[in-house]
């Protein structure tokens, strides 16, 4: 299935500065797996923040559907 991955903040370096990519991932894969297949292993990124699917924050173990928009944020702070 095809999904769109959007990166925010410091994570854009994993797409060479691009903010989004359409990627092909196996049916039923999780957000975590989709990111890993795109070269983003959140467990190894200290400043990894959270993920959202179609504009809603979810657990990284959330299963994806064809056409989903997966957004990954780096940590932000301030206020």
């Amino acid at each position: 299935m095809k999904i769109k991955i959007l990166l925010r903040g410091a994570l854009t370096k994993y797409f060479n500065g691009e903010k989004e990519r359409i990627v092909e991932v196996p049916d039923g894969c999780t957000a975590e797996e989709a990111l890993k297949l795109s070269g983003i292993d959140w467990t190894k990124i200290d400043n990894f923040g959270f993920v959202a699917v179609n504009g809603m924050r979810v657990m990284i173990t959330e299963k994806l559907k064809d056409g989903d928009e997966l957004k990954a944020y780096s940590k932000i702070s301030g206020g």
Partner: protein, 586 residues
């Protein structure tokens, strides 16, 4: 100790006298500077129960040992007094260049007492102090006032000024500097207005001594390059706080129509990209390594900002999606010297009151022409603005609508929906100056880092305490909030480099705890207890309808549980009171 000027300028406006006195170094060793040291002075010097708008209140402008050194992001000035909005202690942190100039003039702090008999301003030029007439400035906006004073004195002077909101003793009145930087919350502008003090103008030509200069500056530069200028902080150069809008929307904590819900399906109409396309210029505060300030122009509106808080308050929380209206409202509020958070919440509440038919304030969600007009009327105390200037707590006491009056202790809610970040409801409730997001920024842990589950009371007392302790130290050091990666270790190292005294992480963390305690002790002396650590009924009774936190409301017992956890970790009793043994250590 190095880093300090060892001197306080004490100004008596009633007698028109000013004299330098030694800084209480015994207090500085326990409270460092800015927030902590200013609160200590106020705790010792203010009589309990005074009227915050009387000459008995004091306004303290407090720097810290790093102010004026090469430590990056250390240009914040602490502004503190007893708040007319809440009756609590209140300290704010204002950017710009005023802190550096006070320090270069030779002072760690300026303590302003009494009141002038007619409008005036205080002129500080190193050790030359004078009281100048401000009758021609009175009534003018912050921007015009600052422009007139800049023309008169030149750009080597910093100006701290109030607008009509401060003159009219509005509890939402700011103190403004560098045109668009504010000591925004709790009505410090009204304290200044009550003293007939239109402005403080300051120039300093001295410097600050630190030990082992060559070695210290080299290490500070390394810290700047390795810590400050890393990508987790530099996003504020590219985006300012507009970056938070998308994260708050996706995280389910962006308030909508007076916190009646969260998330807005049309949020992209006013997201960070929309604003940043209109960028005209950039700037930062004195000693800043990040430069978060964005000058934008949309149509006729021009302003430095808007910050996230203002976008959310004047945008979705007001039922508005027009970026130009947000920027225009921001420009008007800044010129009037009005806190955008509190004014936004008051107007959102008035809109809901009108739409629910409880009381007609003549404004409904999305009516931005009226909104902008009302901002000016609030500041000037004109017509319905005089009513709205009372703040949402007093208004709800008069007209009803208490359940959706979004405030704690009379200070209106910042723009983070607590039902999507339960720890934030605790942070707002126990904050020393009423509902404040700067004391403990819970979304960092519960939403943006997702390291702690957001919809549970478990562990929230400890979490909020740790966040508050960290920020208390940061504010004592005058470090900007946007150096988000700074650790206790780095703060201890910087203190050692600047003061020449070795500081351990434990010692510096203890300062943070002590500051939380003395602020609480001040409020306790004013009669505040656990019953004042509240949350609006809305967050207990109404579940969110949309977004990732849909279905969430905070059970009252969970809220009480979080409060008791917090009190316990600080050694307070069940009523939120410090025992005498703890007070004796302050």
């Amino acid at each position: 100790m190095y880093g300090y000027q060892n001197k306080v300028l004490r100004v008596d406006l009633s007698k028109k006298t000013a004299a330098a006195e030694p800084l209480r170094m015994d207090w500085a060793e326990k409270y460092i500077g800015s927030k902590g040291l200013a609160i200590k002075y106020l705790y010792e010097e203010l009589k309990p129960g005074i009227d915050p708008l009387s000459p008995e209140n004091k306004l303290i402008l407090m720097t810290g040992p790093m102010t004026g050194t090469t430590v990056p992001c250390s240009g914040k000035l602490g502004v503190a007094g007893k708040s007319p909005a809440t009756g609590t202690i209140c300290d704010c942190s204002i950017g710009g260049h005023a802190a550096l100039r006070i320090k270069y003039a030779g002072y760690d702090a300026v303590i302003i007492e009494g009141a002038l008999d007619k409008p005036g301003y205080l002129l500080i030029e190193d050790d030359k102090i004078s009281f100048e007439d401000a009758s021609e400035l009175w009534g003018k906006g912050c921007h015009e006032t600052e422009a007139i004073l800049a023309d008169k004195y030149g750009h080597e002077y910093s100006v701290l000024t109030i607008g009509p909101a401060g003159e009219n003793l509005c509890g939402m009145a700011c103190i403004t500097s560098d045109y668009y930087r504010q000591a925004g919350r709790g009505g410090m502008g009204a304290v200044m207005g009550s003293k007939n003090l239109k402005a403080v103008v300051v120039k300093g030509t001295g410097g600050v001594k630190i030990p082992n200069v060559e070695e210290a500056v080299k290490r500070i530069l390394e810290i700047q390059n390795e810590d400050v200028l890393q990508e987790d902080n530099t996003f504020v150069f590219d985006w300012g706080t507009t970056a938070f809008l998308e994260a708050c929307q996706d995280g389910g904590i962006l308030p909508y129509k007076n916190f009646s819900d969260t998330t807005d399906p049309n949020w992209t109409e006013y997201n960070g990209e929309v604003f940043m396309e209109k960028l005209e210029g950039k700037r930062g505060c004195g000693s800043c390594g990040l430069g978060c300030g964005n000058f934008l122009k949309i149509g006729d509106a021009i302003c430095e900002g808007p910050e996230y808080e203002t976008i959310a308050a004047y945008g979705p929380n007001a039922g508005n999606r027009d970026p130009e209206a947000i920027l225009k409202a921001n420009q008007v509020a800044d010129d009037m010297g009005l806190d955008t958070i509190s004014s936004g919440d008051v107007l959102a509440w008035a809109m809901e009151m009108t739409e629910k038919g409880i009381h007609d304030f003549g404004i409904r969600f999305g009516e931005m022409d009226t909104y902008i007009k009302y901002l000016e009327m609030i500041a000037k105390g004109e017509g319905i603005g005089k009513e709205l200037a009372m703040g949402v707590k007093k208004l709800a006491g008069k007209y009803g609508g208490k359940d959706f009056a979004m405030e704690v202790k009379g200070l209106e809610y910042p723009q983070y929906e607590p039902r999507g970040s339960w720890g934030m409801s605790l942070a707002y409730a126990v904050s020393d100056r009423g509902a404040c997001h700067m004391r403990a920024y819970a979304p960092n842990e519960e939403v943006f880092a997702a390291s702690i589950p957001p919809y549970t009371p478990e562990g929230k007392g400890e979490m909020v305490y740790k966040l508050a302790q960290h920020n208390a130290v940061k504010f004592c050091l005058c470090i900007c909030d946007f150096w988000g990666t700074i650790s206790m270790e780095t703060m201890a190292e910087l203190m050692s480099l600047v003061t020449g005294k070795e500081w351990t992480v434990e010692e510096i963390a203890d300062v943070g705890t002590r500051v939380i305690n003395i602020a609480r002790a001040f409020n306790q002396r004013e009669g505040f207890t656990a019953k004042d650590d509240t949350a609006p009924k809305r967050i207990f009774k109404e579940a969110l309808k949309n977004g990732p936190a849909a279905g969430q409301k905070i059970p009252e017992e969970a809220f009480e549980d979080m409060k008791q956890q917090y009190y316990k970790v600080l050694g307070w009793d069940e009523n939120g009171l410090l025992p005498d043994s703890l007070i004796a250590t302050l």
